[in-house]
């Protein structure tokens, strides 16, 4: 449904800049009525968590994100879309993932951003290991059944 949109996909160790990513999609354009951003952050789980270590499968991670983003572009009339996922050690309170969608209409921007997040959770090869406050060996986060369910509601 979207025409002539070149998505921005990045998998990176560094933090991202939400304002800069919005500007990249909107600057100099007059056809955008709505921009939605989703930022996923590292929670401290009531103080039990110190940091996450995020492992990824280089190459496949970018490919899977691009595939989800392409599905969103086919499904909704977007004028732009950006997805950034970080890897490596991420302290509590830091950013993990960013999705930005731009459209003439608000519902398309909202739905596309939610769709991309639901699918990133279950389809993109990233794995989170939790590092607690103490100096003990971290624990791998188990996949949530709720995330699997969320990705099914779009079919």
């Amino acid at each position: 449904m979207s025409e002539h949109v070149t998505p921005t996909i990045r998998v990176q160790r560094a933090d991202f800049d939400v304002a800069a990513e919005i500007a990249r999609l909107t600057d100099g354009r007059g056809d955008i009525g709505a921009v939605v951003t989703f930022t996923g952050l590292c929670r401290d789980e009531q103080g039990t968590l110190n940091a996450l270590e995020i492992e990824h499968y280089p190459g496949m991670a970018e490919r899977q994100i691009a595939s989800v983003v392409e599905q969103a572009l086919e499904r909704w009339p977007l004028t732009g879309i950006t997805a950034v996922h970080r890897f490596g050690r991420i302290e509590t309170g830091e950013n993990i993932v960013l999705v930005v969608t731009a459209s003439a209409h608000r519902q398309a921007a909202f739905d596309a951003a939610a769709f991309v997040m639901d699918f990133l959770k279950t389809k993109a090869p990233f794995w989170k290991k939790e590092h607690g406050r103490a100096d003990v060996e971290g624990k791998w986060v188990a996949a949530a059944r709720a995330d699997e369910e969320s990705s099914k509601k779009w079919t």
Partner: protein, 83 residues
């Protein structure tokens, strides 16, 4: 054949990747997993719950029933927890 491992599959097997020579009777993903489990305790531990192991052939997810074919790279990993 190049195998790559991630997350706790990598940790339990104890390596990130390796080159293996598959016996000719191993032709599907399920057969590959069963054969790997015979290679040692670390493989048996990593692949104990075989059903949860996700497999990608040349970075494409496949079902366990899939034919292996001749991929450049086979990846084994647990369910993903990104986002």
């Amino acid at each position: 054949m190049k195998l790559v491992y991630f997350s706790w599959v990598r940790e339990r097997i104890g390596k990130e990747s390796e080159e293996v020579d598959l016996p000719p009777e191993v032709t599907t993903v399920a057969e590959l997993l069963a054969w790997l489990k015979t290679r040692g305790d670390e493989y048996a531990a990593a692949l104990e719950h075989q059903d949860v192991i996700r497999v990608a052939l040349d970075m494409e997810h496949v079902h366990h029933s899939e034919k292996l074919g001749t991929p450049y790279e086979i990846a084994l990993f647990p369910p993903m927890t990104g986002g």
